[in-house]
């Protein structure tokens, strides 16, 4: 117990980020995925899309990119490192640092997606600042939720297909709140209650994941 409590989430977070920097294949994979989806979206709508279609397409892309990015987030912990971490850190610590990595990844992917969409499909959203902040709130919610489903999928040992199957139904609430709020921001209205709704769903998923993760982690 004394050994476990010495590792703070922030140290583990730094360690995980350093690992991502050393082994860039997952980061690179997410970048290429985001680039190709934005480009395909521009091929599907060669004449540009109206605000509603653009918004819907963007949120679909955000959701699928977030799933793809977090599919492998527990892969490295599946092998010998699993036992190493099991002895070294508390499950809660591991969850919090993984959560921080996932939220950071999801939010930066969302910024990248917004940029790519504005390049390939134009920018029909009127309230640009509101729209961007709202998307980031939604992306935070996605990242928070996907941390737990990704851990679940990796613990089954059959990760690839299961990750999407487990995540998609649970993403529906965040997705609907995100799309509806995004529509309002795109039309120049204010929809702060939707952004707060996204954040609230993200916080709920975080709290649930934090409570349930220890049961997942220990065998």
């Amino acid at each position: 117990m004394t050994k476990s409590s010495r590792v703070a989430p922030i140290h583990l977070f730094r360690f995980l980020i350093k690992l991502e920097g050393r082994q860039r294949s997952f980061v690179f994979q997410s970048l290429v995925y985001a680039l190709s989806t934005a480009y395909i979206a521009s091929l599907v709508f060669p004449n540009g899309a109206n605000a509603q279609t653009w918004n819907g397409l963007l949120w679909m892309t955000l959701a699928f990119n977030a799933i793809t990015a977090s599919t492998h987030s527990f892969d490295r912990e599946a092998g010998p490192r699993y036992f190493y971490l099991l002895g070294l850190v508390k499950p809660e610590t591991l969850f919090l640092s993984k959560w921080a990595v996932a939220v950071l990844a999801s939010v930066s992917l969302a910024l990248l997606n917004l940029f790519l969409f504005s390049v390939f499909l134009g920018w029909p959203a009127q309230n640009a600042l509101g729209y961007t902040l709202h998307s980031l709130c939604g992306a935070m919610g996605f990242g928070a939720l996907l941390t737990t489903t990704s851990a679940l999928a990796s613990r089954t040992g059959r990760n690839l297909g299961l990750m999407a199957v487990l995540s998609l139904p649970l993403l529906v609430p965040s997705l609907i709140v995100g799309v509806r709020g995004g529509e309002r921001f795109a039309l120049g209205l204010s929809a702060v209650e939707y952004s707060l709704g996204s954040l609230g769903l993200g916080l709920l998923a975080t709290a649930l994941g934090y409570l349930l993760f220890p049961y997942l982690w220990r065998d």
Binding site: T148, L152, R155, T156, G157, R158, L162, V165, L166, L168, P169, L170, V172, P173, I176, V177, R180, E193, Y194, G197, L201, L204, A205, L208, G209, L212, Y215, L216, D219
Partner: protein, 219 residues
């Protein structure tokens, strides 16, 4: 005989709902006409489904606290029986929608909530079938069960407040309004709801017992 009292009560209440629901007078309303009697059956499916899924989450919690394999078995059985009631609720609702709103499927927050929760439990069954080790299966599926159940409850309680719905008492409040129900209908509605819930738990009881016997029987 003594322990079966609630089963007798459940059966009698369901028979009462079938007979009184078809024969007792109901208010004559435009468009709804005689389809209003579907209230006793369609809503009963949801009451039964939600209480079974609540039971499933409760057994999942017990499983995580105690590691008892019988709780896992009950949790799974409750999810399955709840799923069947969900399908029945969907079918009775689709028939009703066709005769009142003119379409089998409409874009309505309640329908989205149903679709999401059915997908969620399908994912739960997929998760169960993809883990071979019974202990790990019990733990992983209990975690997913609790995670998904809490998100679903929040989703179906919170989201309808954001949007308008065709369902009564919606567009602000997802619950029943006290003025919606005619007092004559109440004398059938409330007993019918209790009857359907008890019937659901009876089926769950049988299913869990069959599963338990299968588990104990070798080969």
């Amino acid at each position: 005989m003594k322990g079966a009292l609630w089963k007798w009560l459940g059966a009698m209440l369901v028979f009462y709902a079938l007979i009184a629901g078809m024969l007792l007078p109901v208010p004559r309303l435009p468009i709804l006409n005689e389809t209003i009697r579907n209230l006793y059956f369609h809503v009963g499916m949801w009451f039964s489904m939600l209480s079974l899924w609540g039971g499933s989450a409760w057994f999942a919690l017990l499983q995580l606290r105690t590691g008892d394999s019988k709780s896992d078995l009950k949790s799974n059985a409750a999810a399955e029986v709840g799923f069947v009631f969900g399908i029945l609720g969907l079918l009775t609702g689709m028939l009703w929608a066709q005769f009142t709103w003119g379409k089998f499927w409409v874009n309505d927050p309640k329908l989205n909530g149903t679709a999401m929760s059915l997908l969620m439990y399908l994912a739960y069954f997929v998760l169960r079938s993809s883990v071979d080790d019974p202990n790990r299966r019990a733990r992983l599926s209990a975690v997913y069960n609790l995670f998904a159940f809490v998100l679903m409850i929040v989703f179906i309680q919170v989201l309808p407040r954001f949007t308008d719905s065709l369902h009564p008492g919606n567009g602000g409040n997802p619950a029943f309004s006290q003025y919606d129900l005619d007092s004559g209908m109440r004398t059938v509605f409330y007993p019918a709801m209790i009857g359907w819930i008890l019937l659901g738990y009876w089926i769950l009881d049988l299913r869990a017992r069959i599963r338990f016997l299968e588990l104990k029987t070798p080969g």
